[in-house]
């Protein structure tokens, strides 16, 4: 099991909608095309579809979250 290869695959699943849709349509084919081993293909194909969808939505929401407002520490400490 190659952690590097599998993490790259997961990162694409979480962030690329078209890649995710292709994977959901044919997990084995997409896994093989991306160089996953048979064991790794079986592992990713077992991800429940609803879990993958909610994870992708959650990550997208985090990526789209605006950065925090400037600290107001300066109101107390800055000169």
């Amino acid at each position: 099991m190659m952690q590097d290869r599998l993490e790259r695959f997961l990162a694409r699943l979480y962030t690329e909608r078209t890649f995710r849709e292709a994977f959901l349509a044919d997990p084995a084919a997409v896994g093989a095309r991306e160089g996953l081993s048979a064991e790794e293909c079986r592992a990713v194909a077992a991800i429940p579809t609803d879990h993958l969808g909610r994870a992708a939505r959650s990550f997208a929401s985090k990526r789209n979250t605006k950065p925090p407002p400037p600290s107001i520490l300066s109101r107390f400490f800055a000169r």
Binding site: M1, Q3, E7, R12, I47, L52, R63, P68, S71, R79
Partner: protein, 314 residues
């Protein structure tokens, strides 16, 4: 904004106080530092034992801001919490990410620093948040390698936090608690136990959180997080799941788990409440800190008289 109301701490029952252990006397409870809460925090430092600063918000901070944080660290125990390093990823953590953190830690001189058991990126793809890597021997080794590098550059070993995940990471050969234990043993780091994350993963993936606690090295816990989340019912009518959003109050099962940790631990414990938005009045947050103190007291008292689970006990 309406002025925060001041609430009285929840009293610890006499029968509990009488059994408090020396460890409990040194337990501490505090809050994640958020600029929106600054006024309330400064006004109630007598009820806040420790603060936790999110490192990522201050890596490019001015000298004035850093001086302010350093002054704060001289007034109250302070921890630095990093989010972005991806220490559990296969990729070697970048020196360029560690050096700014090292400068921040050097400037502030906190009690300690921490990051997560997660990967954030792979081959240039930024996921945007904490993702659970496959829990394997390989990821144990990679995490230990990254931790050694981080400790060398920052100057001290971080505590590592267990994360909440919406996906059981595929390709895993180790259970989450066994994976965590292996990493702690391999790297010699401490554990930042996020109790809400244990609870969320337990309810979402159907395991017993007490069995999780059975399998991690309780003595390695450096400090703990508590937080709230919300239940989400999928539009398609699927099974509801708990989202760890840090936008809601801490629930009773999380306090119960905190009490369970307190019953099992022999070292003093430090608990930090994480709240990342939809801020309630300061009185409500202080009330949650009081509930955490009460949970710690309950666990310590239970340990004194009857070792064993405090969940579901009499």
């Amino acid at each position: 904004m309406a002025p925060a109301l001041v609430s009285e701490p929840l009293p610890v029952p006499d029968q509990v106080r009488d059994r408090l252990s020396p460890e409990h006397a040194r337990d501490r409870v505090g809050l994640g530092w958020r600029p929106e809460l600054a006024a309330g925090i400064f006004a109630h430092l007598d009820r806040i034992d420790v603060l936790e600063v999110v490192a990522d918000n201050y890596l490019a901070a001015s000298r004035a801001h850093r001086r302010g944080l350093r002054m704060m660290a001289q007034q109250v125990a302070l921890h630095v919490h990093s989010i972005d390093l991806g220490l559990a990823g296969a990729e070697e953590v970048a020196t360029a990410r560690l050096e700014p953190l090292a400068r921040l830690v050097g400037d502030i001189e906190p009690e300690g620093w921490s990051d997560h058991l997660a990967f954030m990126r792979a081959h240039g793809i930024e996921i945007g948040h904490l993702a659970a890597p496959p829990r394997t021997e390989a990821s144990v080794e990679n995490t230990a390698r990254n931790l050694r590098k981080a400790a060398r550059i920052v100057g001290t070993m971080p505590a590592l936090e267990n994360i909440a995940t919406l996906i059981d990471p595929p390709g895993s050969t180790l259970s989450e608690p066994d994976w965590i234990s292996r990493i702690i043993a391999a790297a010699g780091c401490g554990l930042l136990l996020d109790v809400q994350n244990v609870h969320a993963n337990a309810v979402n993936f159907g395991f017993d959180p007490l069995h999780f606690l059975d399998r991690i090295p309780i003595e390695s816990i450096r400090y703990l997080h508590i937080a709230g989340g919300r239940w989400i019912t999928p539009a398609d009518g699927g099974k509801p799941y708990l989202l760890d959003d840090h936008l809601h109050e801490v629930t009773e099962p999380v306090f119960d788990l905190l009490a369970e940790v307190a019953a099992r631990a022999t070292q003093p414990l430090t608990v930090v409440l994480e709240r990342d938005g939809d801020y309630p009045p300061m009185a409500a947050l202080l009330g949650e800190l009081d509930r955490a103190r009460a949970a710690l007291a309950r666990g310590r008292a239970r340990a004194q008289v009857q070792p064993g689970s405090v969940i579901g006990g009499a």
